[in-house]
């Protein structure tokens, strides 16, 4: 695990691509939309977890595009039961493997157990099962594919939809600016369970994602990885911009990449200059209706939260070139 530590994972960012596994465990032929950031994330996460792992998946986009009877895109042993119970199913698998190992019924060490679900299946309907599984300390890794709405059912808002976003159930109108609440902080909820490993990740940062997955799997006990998954269909963004948007989410500080190891925060990708949120929001049709006051309001919140995170990581302030010169100094005083 030390081999893939947080500092090392930074180095691999530039030159280790040929060392990455070639085997595809999430095979082509699935029915994900063009430009799907989530399918890209699943592809790289399955490469990182390898074949010796059992996957429990929640109902949602990735389940529907990949598992139409009698076909499957999954090379791992894979199970789908329902929408809200993936963490409980994974907990059951982990428990079953534990007793079978103790009774000598397994040949070799038990496989890793992985659970996957969307933002709705994680932060809304599946929150209770996930909280229970984390509290009980099952040895499993949970992945939240966060595309920030119920995309599978037609882009309805979830508690993970960002403030101001247009969805089919949070439409802007004469009395609405779209989603009227701030995105639920699932990462903080996971951290509050005092589990050994929590991280954010993005398929736009493959190496960062890869090594976080390895660390999560090698950590005994529950681990939680929150993956921002760009959704061109739901975000109303050009399909060729998915990877770029994932990078912009990090470069604007909207979705910082960090990990929390035994309660200690590390920022794993550190942009030297933070870009304005407009750069991230402008290519997305779901924010098209927002005007300057709302964008300023969101910008302020993003900076505040980013500064909170830097303080937790013990890192100095980066540059905010778009802010008036005196503003950051004043707030730092």
């Amino acid at each position: 695990m030390e081999k893939f530590g947080f500092a090392e994972s930074q180095k691999y960012d530039t030159y280790a691509s040929r060392l990455m596994p070639r085997a595809e465990l999430f095979t082509p032929g699935h029915r994900a939309c063009q430009g799907c950031g989530e399918a890209l994330a699943v592809r790289w996460v399955t490469k990182a977890i390898g074949p010796d792992a059992i996957i429990a998946h929640a109902t949602g986009c990735m389940e529907i595009v990949s598992s139409g009877l009698p076909q499957t895109s999954w090379m791992n042993p894979w199970i789908h039961v329902a929408f809200e119970n993936t963490a409980a199913v994974a907990a059951g698998i982990e428990t079953g493997l534990r007793i079978l190992e103790r009774k000598g019924k397994l040949s070799g060490p038990p496989p890793k157990v992985v659970a996957m679900g969307g933002d709705g299946g994680t932060s809304d309907i599946g929150l209770q099962a996930l909280s229970g599984a984390m509290e009980r300390g099952h040895n499993f890794t949970y992945f939240c594919w966060d595309n920030e709405a119920y995309m599978n059912t037609g882009i309805q808002r979830s508690s993970s939809t960002p403030f101001g976003a247009m969805t089919t159930t949070s439409p802007p109108g004469k009395r609405s600016i779209g989603q009227s609440t701030w995105k639920k902080d699932m990462v903080a909820i996971a951290v509050a369970h005092n589990i050994p490993y929590v991280a954010t990740a993005s398929p736009s940062y493959i190496f960062d994602l890869y090594f976080k997955v390895r660390k999560a799997l090698e950590t005994p006990g529950p681990a939680y990885i929150h993956v921002l998954s760009v959704c061109p269909t739901g975000w109303r963004s050009p399909t060729d911009l998915s990877v770029r948007l994932g990078r912009l989410a990090v470069e604007t500080g909207v979705f910082p990449l960090f990990e929390v190891v035994d309660g200690t925060y590390h920022l794993t990708v550190q942009p030297h200059k933070i870009r304005p949120v407009k750069d991230y929001m402008k290519p997305q049709g779901r924010f098209r209706h927002l005007r300057e006051p709302e964008l300023d309001y969101i910008q302020k919140r993003v900076i505040d939260r980013y500064r909170d995170l830097l303080a937790k990581c013990g890192l100095p302030e980066p540059e905010f070139p778009f802010l008036p010169k005196e503003a950051p100094a004043e707030e730092n005083a």
Partner: protein, 406 residues
Amino acid sequence: MAKPKAKPAPATAYAPSHRVGMEVSIAVSDAVQLARAEAIAAYPITPQTHIVEHLSGVVANGDLEAEFINVESEHSAMSACIGMSASGARTYTATSSQGLALMHEILFIASAMRFPIVMTVANRALSGPLSIWNDHGDIMAARDIGWIQVFVENGQEAFDHTIMAFKIAENPKVLLPTIVNMDGFILSHVVEALEMVDQETVDNFLPPYSPRHRLDPKNPVTMGAFAMPEIYTEVKMNHQATLTNSYEHIVSVWDEWARLTGRSYNPVESYRTEDAKILLLTMGCLSEVAKIAVDELREADLPVGLLRLRLWRPFPFKDLRDAVGDAELLIVCDRAISLGGPGGPVMSEVRSALYGQATRPQIQGYIVGLGGRDVPPEAFKDIVNKAQAEMAQGTGPEFHLYGVRE
């Protein structure tokens, strides 16, 4: 609760057993222990609690080599059971009432995915109003979940059927989850005398579970894929055929148990039905009370008999038709009500099972004992009298809700 000391068993041709007095919930827990369940997930709900309390105790003491997880809801209990069973472990859980209702969604999935989970349901009324007491409203709401469902009458049956349920469920030609229904409190919390069998007998009867398919990286499979309209109907047909065909395997396991212990069980049990013109039909432990009423009515020269439906799913159509024979009046006593419908769910199914018969009795439905309301032998005698009077008149209402206070 301390177990009474076992007395040496008398020498018989049957497997060794000893007679003990114990709370029925603990007898069920002992049966699960004897069956060597490997993985248990449960959430506490009255009146199921004594079963899982005792089981967690035997796991904690190492008397049962198993994993017991205390999940955060019944929904997660059934979900975790699916995960446990999919991993290849022999899986057990127990619940009641609201708990069964909360896991409702997952019950259908467990049977469609063919996981041989065994579950005890300590039957209890559904809210509202909140009631912790016994009726069959909980399981009747879960009638169509595609599980094998058995109703037991007393502690001995609860013990026997819990062990047999594992053997039935895990039969490769069945592979269906199985529910053993026992009346909450009225049965679950009473102390009864029963014959316990020993571990060796159960081990010979029930071999270790070796699943044909499980989640294994060496042989990866996809479980729980979704179905388009082209294939959904075929999957349902397969499930339906398997559940119907499980009948012969259920009966064969019961027969094997009878040869082993001398206690034989039938899908429909008949009591004093010879030449009976009037038949009562009951499920669960109402039957023991009804037997008293039948005895007393027989003494008064009334040709009354009792049918007891033990196997609820798959529904034993032929056994029922044979058992009804040429009776003139069949009174079905339900412990649940289908509101705004035909009354009792059992009555409605019995009536449709007999409808196609050339000769059939008049069928009257009486709903009794809701939410823990006591049903003494006098109630059955009263019901028989009222039903006879109604038959003399011709037709009556769709059903009777018996014992409503005016």
